[in-house]
Structure formats: C-alpha cells, structure tokens
Amino acid sequence: MIKADNTVVLKGKNEVSKFNVKDFLMKYIMYIVLVLMSITLAVANDKFLTTGNMMTILKQISIQSIVAIGMTMIIISGNIDLSVGSVVAFCSVTGAMMMTSGVPIWLAVLLVVGIGGLLGFVSGGVTAKLKLHSFLVTLALMQAVRGLAQTITGGYPKAGLPEVFGAVAAKSIFGIPILVIYMIIFYAVFIYIMKYTAFGRSIYAIGSNEESARLSGINVEKVKTMVFVISSALCGVAGLLLTSKVRSGDPTSANGWEMDAIAGAIIGGTNMAGGEGKLGGTIIGLLFVGILANGMVLLGVNAYMQSVVKGLVIFLAVIINSIQKRSQN
C-alpha cells in the first residue's frame, strides 16, 4: 500500500497517470491555442516566423513582463495593485530627472528602485495594517502617483540622458536583446522564490486562506506588505528600463499597464480570488497577447479592431480557465 503510494509520488503530483485525450486537451489548451495561432500567422504572413520578428515580440513584452511578476504575486496573495502603471511612470521620470541633473547612474538606479519599494510599502502597509481592500488603496495611489509624476515634470518628458544609460536596454548579446535576457533572469529568480522559499509559500497560503495562515504562525501583515514592496520595486526596475529604452522619462508612459499585467496573469491561469497561479503561466499569457498584437499588425488589422480582438481573446481565456478549473474538481 505504502509502496504503491510512493510510486505515485515519484511519478509526480498528477491525479491520473493514464493518458487521457480530454484531460490532456483541458490541461494544455492555452498552449495548444498559442501554437495554433502561431501556425496560422506563419502561414498567413511569411514575416511572422522570422527570428527578427520573434525577438521583436519578446522585446515588446519584456518590460511589461517584469511588472507582471509583481502583479501575479499580488493576485496570488489575494490582492490587486492598480497603481503599477503610475509607479512605473513615476520611477521613470524620477530616474530621468536624477540622471539629467548629474546624479551618478548607479546611485540613481538604487534610489529609483528604493522609491518604488517605498511606494509599495505605503500601499502594502496600509492594506495590511488597516485591513483595507487593496483595490481601493491602490486606486487612490494610482491617481496620486500619476499626478505626482506629472507635477514634478510639468507634464513634459524629461530627455537628455547620459549616452551610457541608453545602452542598458539597447544592447544585444548573441543576437538576443538584453531586455529579453533581463526578463528571463527575473522570471527564473521569481519562479524559484514563489516555489522554493518560505516567502513564496506564505504568499500562496495567505491567498488561499488568510486565517489559517495566520494561525499557523505566518506573519500575514509582513508578508502582504513585502509583496507590495517587491512588486513596486520591480515597477522601479521596469521604469528604469523604459527610461533607457526610450531615452527619456515620460510622465504619461506606462498608461494602462496594470490592466495588461492583470490580463497576462489571468490568461496565464492565476486565480483572481487568490491562492492559485504560476509565473510561468503569466509569461504565456503575455506571449499570447504579444503574438496576437504582432500578428494583427502584420496582417494589417486596424488599431481599433485590434483592441476589440484583444478584448475578446481575454474574455475567451477567462472562460477557458474557468472550464479548466471545473474539470479539475
């Protein structure tokens, strides 16, 4: 009996080891749709399946994908952060302002990531300590921080950055854009954190059942606050990369990124109710949206229609996810 059980453990944590077409389809449907969509696009347009175009897609999602890491973690913890786009813009302009006024690059980078973390400390701390809904707290912060970014710049982009800083986002290594490499490194690190550290495990526990986590001696307030701090610090990183990429700090940039990050997480299977989700899924979700957008541009779909299609796809993904969940139970 115990022997038999152990072999199940070794085989993995799946319920059934026997191959079943329906289960397989259910489990990998998002991947299958992704592949089918790519094949269709490759057939329809020969520019789609080139290395150059693939790199363009990856590069396009790279900076947002770093924001989506934090968003996924926050949603898994049972919260939401609407302020990420504003924080990215604020960090982008403060970084640009520091560097144009002569602050050494290394110091500006540290300060900006610190400012991001501090903003997260505010939203996370208030959410955790006062037991408020993070939706409301970050809705307020979203407005305030965006306004702040516009106030300190007078509403105009801050240009004139040191040449060297531009290289941070512009380089390529072995033909791979460095932004993509950053993305891969960040995902590797955070996938590890979510799966194999006490902090990551606490996030899942809190999102699944906060009371149970608290009674198990997990410091819920601290973990919640930390999730927001990390997410906002990642927004700081994203803000700096954005500044480097476009060689300026624009207070109107990263508008709506919170929605893109949420969409990526949800398409990737993260449960809005918390407790469930994977960063690997989020990257698939972002790729999905990225490939779709790229394909539509190649096929010459007009911009307004693109938005309609994107909306429909998100809607479809949400339905597929809910069917998947039901079939598991």
Binding site: I2, D5, N6, V8, V9, K13, E15, Y192, Y196, T197, A198, R201, S202, Y204, A205, S208, N209, E211, S212, A213, R214, L215, S216, G217, I218, N219, G275, E276
Partner: protein, 500 residues
Amino acid sequence: MSKTILRAEGVSKSFGGTLALDNAELELRSGEVHALVGANGAGKSTLIKIITGAYSKDEGHIYLEDKEINVKSTFEARELGISAVYQEFSLINTLSVAENIYLGKLISKKHGPVEKIQWQEIIENAKKILDMLESDISPNTIVGSLSVAQKQLVEIAKALSNDIKVLIMDEPSASLSDNDIENMFKLIKGLKEKGIGIVYVSHRLEELPIIADRISVYRDGKYIKTLNIDEAPKKVIIENMVGPGMVETKRTPCSTSEVLMEVQNFSSGKKFKNISFQLHKGEVLGIAGLAGAGRTELVRAIFGVDSKDSGKICIHGKETVIRNPADAKKAGIGFISEDRKEEGLILNLPLHTNLGMTILDKLKRFIGLDLDKEVQLMDDYISSLKIKCRDSAQKAGNLSGGNQQKVVIAKWLATKPEILIMDEPTRGIDIGSKNQIYDLIDDLAKQGIGIIMISSELPEVLQVSDRIIVLAAGKKTGEIENKELTQDILLDYATRKQAV
C-alpha cells in the same frame, strides 16, 4: 407500525474507482427518527447526499412512498418533500432570516410586466414557521448576527418551509451546547408527531437512546444492520461500527509537578474575566463549559489570535509576551483550532504543504526550502498517525474529517511544541478516529507535552483530562482534579455564577 416513507435498495456509488457506497439499504418510516451511524468513510454522507440529489447514484433504487424516484438535484428532492440540514450551514449571513428561509422561492406578485416581491407575506410566513418551532428569533434579523444554535434553527425552518415528508439532519448536535441540544430534541419530537420521517446522522452515540427510534449501522461503504434502539446499547453499536476488536481506552495520568505555563489574570471585555491557571508538564488540562462560556475566546487570546485587555503568560517561570500566533509558536505553543476547515487547513493545498506552513523557518536552507524534508516529514506522520490518504501530495480537502484533524495535529507536532492547545479536537469525527486521537493525546502527555483541551462533550473531558477547569459566562467557576468526577458535577460548576 407506521408505514414506510422512504426506502433505498442496493444503492452503490463510486468516486474515481473507489467504492464509497456498496449495495446500501435504508428503510425510513414516517414519524420515526432513524439514526445513521458509522465511522468516517462508512458511506453515511454519500448515502444521504444521494437521497437529497446532491450526488447521483451508480446503481440501486430509491422509493418515496412506494413510488420510485430518481432525483437529479437537491432542488428536485425538495420539491418531492426531501430536505436536508447539513453540518455546514447553507445560510447567507448578510441576508435576513425570512429571506434565507424563502431563498430561491421568494413569493412575488406580477403587476403587468413588473414583478414585486411580497415581503410582508414572506415575513409573516417565516414568523409562523419560527413560532411553530417555538423560537423567538425575529424574521428580520440578519443571519450573521445569530448564534450557531439559532442558525441551525433557521436552517430547520428553511427545510420546513417546504411541505416535507423526509428531513435529513447531518450532525445537528455537533456544534451545539447541551442546552441547545435539548431544545433541538424537543423540536425533533414535534416534527415526529407530524409524521415526518427523520434521518439523523450523528457521531454522538450517547444521545441516540434519547432521540432515535432505530439505528442503521454502516461500515466501509456497506450496510451492516438496523437495530431497534432498545436492543442497541452503546457497546453493541460500537461493535457493529468498528467491527470486532476495538475497546475504549482509559488513560493513565502522567502529570508532573513542574509548571510549564502559567496564565495570569486574563481578561478581554465581556468574553472572559480574570482567568488564571497553571499547566504542568505532561498534564492534560480540560476546559469545560457551556457554549458561550468563553473557552475558545480564552485559548485564542493565549495563542495571540485575538487581543486581550490584560493578563500575562509565564512559560517556565519567565514572562513571555505573545502578541500574535507567530510569537506563540516561537514560545513553543501549538494550537489546533475548532474549525479545521476554515482555520486549521488550506483545503486546496497538498497535505505536505499544509504541514510545511508551520515550519517554514525550520525548512529553510542556505537558499530556498528543503521541500524533500517536508514531504518526508508528512510521510512519517501519515504512517505514525495512521492518516488515511492517497499520499502526501493529496489535497487536504479530499480527506475525511478525522484524517483532516490528524493532519492539523501533525502540522503542529512538527513544530515540536511544549504546549499544545486543542479546541474541540474530536468534533464531527467518528468514534474510531476519536479513540486514536485520545491515544495520541495520551502519548504526547507521556512525552512531557502539556495539553489544554477544550471539549463540549463532557464524557470526553472526563475521559481524557487529568485536571479540569470550568468556565461559565467568561468566569472560572471551578478548578478540579479529575477524580471521581461525574458529568453532573461538571454541569453544576458550568452553571454557577460565582468565580473561584
């Protein structure tokens, strides 16, 4: 003999290859209370869920008043006159009592295309049902503000709002105090007189002679036999439930004189006042009292879950500040809460992850966590605590109540506690698992762990504790060595007003 109202024959049901119910029978007469007993996993819940349409049966026939029925939903069952009151209430806390009773069938009138809900009528009807149950709950009260006993009554009222023939009650006494149970029994007797057949599922064998007419026993998914209550003393029922070879255990005290923890002058508003006691090494300290006496509130404050107004804790003679459960855990205290589903476990996570939650700090390596150790530990506890499960990766929600409770115990044993607080550790679990938990408490005490156990079942407190403190309305009214104590004496303390 009154006529048969509901009959189940040869009912079978399997879940993913395991046979949960194997050729089961049940014969319910009108106006009788028919108790279903059996260990966890015996098939009682599956059977009642099939009768109420929550599950579909694989095989077998069910007859209501000699007509075969084949219900496909709980809604359909209710239409036919079969209603159930489950252990987990189906009430919506934010709605009023009346709306809850009439949920899904709110009375409305059409004025042309406009529909208007007849609130007045609903409230009056609800009042009538509540009056019939001799309850003074107002139909306008919001359900969330009611006590557990009152919620149960509303649940019964909800069932009665249909024209019912069969009422199924799943562990109705599990979360009630003795007083409330007595009221519920009166109510059940009233329903019997109306000719309603009642299926009564309970783990509390002591109450069966008082309430049940006949008893059907199930074991491992199979129907064993039906007994008249007068031919079924507790011993006979237990023999049939667990099969031959099980005996009730009596523990040997191993309490020492060494004081492990001292609780001094604990107070918190109206919940409890000025409570002090000592816990010794190797001692099992029972906390008895009626519902609302403040037992759970007291231990939650000790463990730092809820705040307190005043009071201090000394562990090994040193004052220890406990502001939250994390502090308590550091101080060597473990807490098995009364609500294992909501507070003890995370049901959608694997067993080993649940275990790991309390010992994340101990699993830390130079980088990351030692997850192999976590699985290993869970595997060890699965065998040492005899947890019935597929493997340590199974989700906690898929285990039976008794086994879930063992997982909660395992997750606290993994912290190597010196003090273990157990709030209703055997609530809603079968007699076999109960005895295993008593044995375990005994073992832990022998290892020198000091145990505080709250239980609403007086026989259990008497069986397990070395010493008992009794709370009544937030005050400590008794502190007694468990020698020649009886339920009567405890009840006497539990109804006193004067603190000791």
